[in-house]
């Protein structure tokens, strides 16, 4: 009987996995489902080690599940270095492990098919998370012709990975589960005929000499569309990137970012591990701990080096009452295992973050999930030439912006976590501000648009009155520019 790590019973989620699809992995047959990526299907079959590292020849497995970390590269149909975590399975595919550095040149079984499209829009939005989708809706309501690009096959950003109901007010879809908010926003986007949504389209760059945003849409392992897009306005809503940690064994298969674990569990319905240790007891850490329980995974502990959880009490309380230990002032010493995670050693620290002698504990786990914070994804903003500043309150390098979220690059707006790490609800409001502002700068919309923007700005002001957001407010002051005329 082959291994099947798929989740078939879940209190909140159901999955449309699609028809069964067969492919081979290193010569052995694997049964997957049409809506899975290669990496997801392999994980479901119990395969954790995907590739071998270049110099130390260490086994590696997926770490990010969004095509960034390069730990899932394989040879597919004779094409080396395929990012299997974002490549959908196809019937009859030949998938092979490789050491990417010893990988020979491509011997593809079929030639590359590329369609080139030159397109013009009023507003082009990069990122279809809560900020990008909200921006699209607002700009479209004003009558703008809008394009939304998203690298993932399942637009909605981090919303699609959230099983819990969200805080906020009804204006920000409070009380609705993240995954359902994504559906609400997406269906609203689809109701507007003047919005084109491009899933699986990775923005490659903005080329100033040509004044063109270029994106590549993946239609299959050998089929792509090159989108060359001219926008009168651009909104960058690229969200955030997970931070990582250096500790011995941090590259063993089974160690992954919280986002990767969520993608496997909640997007694909696959158990990434049976027993996990979660590092970081902020909101992300305790929320994935609860999601793990929903997926039938045992959480051995949630540890945090700080003396206080950064999470909301109600989220932390949910896992405490399920007897999941939250160990404060604890950090990871090392992860052990032969080819994959087998155990972790943690220790306690004192007020000065020095190890407490003799406090080491060993925990038997097969998964380590890192939830140690987020950093704004600002690459596209850099390509547009927006001026940046390091603002610790906002999580890293963020762009200068006006109160209407226009950056120092004229006509380029920012919204959501890319402007500073906050929440989905603030991302929705920032999306509305950026969307309405972009449209209104094009002379579109009227009083109604102005009113929508005013309400969103007022809402954000009230939201950020919360003690947890005072710091963020201070951070924003550091990068706030005067209004652009």
């Amino acid at each position: 009987m082959s291994v099947d790590r798929r989740i078939w019973e879940h209190p909140v989620l159901t999955w449309d996995r699609g028809e069964p699809v067969k492919f081979t992995f290193d010569g052995k047959g694997v049964v997957a489902y049409k809506n899975e990526t290669i990496a997801a299907a392999l994980y479901a079959a119990g395969i954790m080690s995907f590739t071998q590292s270049s110099i130390l020849h260490r086994p590696r497995g997926p770490f990010c599940m969004i095509g960034k970390c390069s730990q899932c590269l394989m040879r597919v149909n004779g094409i080396p270095h395929v990012r299997t975590c974002i490549t959908p399975v196809e019937e009859g595919m030949v998938v092979e492990t490789e050491n990417p550095h010893e990988s020979e040149f491509p011997t593809p079984v079929s030639s590359l098919e590329v369609e080139r499209k030159t397109l013009s829009y009023d507003v082009i939005i990069v990122g279809a998370g809560p900020a990008g989708l909200s921006a699209a809706i607002s700009a479209a309501k004003a009558g703008a012709k809008v394009a939304v690009l998203d690298q993932s096959p399942y637009p909605g950003g981090q919303l699609v990975k959230q099983t819990h109901k969200f805080f906020g007010t009804k204006e920000s879809h409070a009380g609705t589960r993240g995954v359902d908010i994504a559906d609400v926003l997406l269906s609203e986007v689809r109701d507007h005929e003047n919005v084109d949504l491009y899933p699986m389209a990775q923005a490659v760059g903005y080329y100033a000499p040509e004044g063109m945003l270029t994106a590549v849409r993946t239609d299959g392992v050998n089929r792509y569309t090159l989108l060359m897009m001219k926008g009168r306005r651009y909104i960058v809503a690229t969200g955030a990137m997970e931070r990582t940690l250096a500790f011995p064994g941090n590259d063993l298969p089974g160690v992954m970012g919280a986002g990767a674990a969520q993608t496997l569990m909640n997007v694909f319905g696959i158990r990434p591990a049976d027993e996990v240790l979660i590092i970081g007891a902020g909101n992300v850490g305790v929320i994935i701990a609860y999601q793990a329980a929903q997926a039938g995974i045992k959480v051995k502990a949630v540890i945090d080096i700080l003396p206080k959880t950064g999470a909301y009490l109600v989220h932390a309380a949910k896992i405490r009452r399920m007897r999941m230990p939250i160990l404060l002032r604890h950090t990871i010493k090392a992860v052990y295992g032969d080819g994959k995670v087998e155990s972790a050693e943690i220790y306690e620290v004192d007020e000065n973050f020095r190890p407490v002698p003799g406090s080491e504990k060993e925990i038997r786990v097969d998964g380590i999930w890192l939830a140690v914070g987020l950093t704004p994804s600002v690459e596209m903003l850099e390509k547009f030439g927006a001026r940046m500043k390091f603002v610790p309150e906002l999580g890293g390098y963020v762009p200068y912006r006006t109160q209407y979220l226009e950056t120092s690059a004229p006509g380029v707006y920012v919204a959501g976590d890319a402007s500073g790490i906050e929440e989905a609800s603030t991302a929705i409001m920032e999306g509305r501000i950026a969307g309405t502002s972009a449209a209104s700068s094009l002379g579109l919309g009227g009083d109604e648009l102005e009113e929508e923007r005013r309400q969103a700005m007022e809402w954000l002001d009230l939201f950020r009155e919360s003690p947890d957001y005072k710091r963020i407010k201070q951070g924003i002051q550091k990068v706030l520019m005067g209004e652009r005329v």
Binding site: P11, V12, T169, Y312, K318, R320, I326, K361, S466
Partner: protein, 181 residues
């Protein structure tokens, strides 16, 4: 190798809320209100920008001037309709029908029993008649109890588990797990 049993830090800093914390924050409904109707016990002790409980309340019994304020309950206005518990994103609200045994159930031996409604989003989902282990806010086993009824909130999708427990447990308990069917 033997493995140490891990226990979490028992402080409010680690998400550990006690009945004492609730009492200090006036979250335990007064007896007078409990005699009139089931009442919510709201474990929300932070200034979260979050308003669904207020917005859903048909009698405006939950007062929150700004979105970041904590919910304050006007015990006189509350009718015990349970909508706030269904709506709460933090699963932070239990509904305690304190005098259920005496006033509604009228089953011999259950006079001092309460009916506690717990929002639930885990599997296996308890079913009517199941015996469940009952835990307090810190995950300490309080005892076992019988599931009186289970409904799924039509509007919010959250499962609501009603369990019969002695009155003494009514405010202590916060979590259940199926022990046997």
């Amino acid at each position: 190798m033997s493995e140490e049993v891990l226990e979490g830090t028992d402080t409010i800093e680690a998400g550990y809320v006690t009945v004492e914390d609730l009492k200090r924050n006036d979250r335990i409904p007064p007896l007078k209100a409990l005699e009139r109707a089931p009442m919510p016990v709201i474990d929300c002790l932070e200034d979260i920008p979050c308003t669904p409980c207020r917005d859903v309340c048909p009698t405006k019994a939950i007062v929150m001037k700004n979105m970041i304020d904590r919910p304050e309950i006007d015990w006189d206005k509350c009718t015990g309709c349970t909508l706030c518990a269904q709506a709460c994103p933090g699963l932070a609200i239990n509904i305690v029908n304190y005098f259920f045994g005496k006033k509604s159930l009228r089953k011999p031996g259950y006079e001092d029993y309460s009916l506690v409604m717990i929002p639930y989003e885990l599997t296996p989902i308890p079913r009517k008649g199941d015996v469940v282990d009952v835990y307090d806010r810190g995950g300490k086993l309080v005892g076992e109890a019988e599931v009186f009824s289970v409904i799924k909130s039509p509007k919010f999708g959250t499962v609501l588990v009603n369990i019969l427990v002695p009155q003494g447990w009514a405010f202590e308990i916060k979590h259940v797990e199926v022990r046997r069917r």
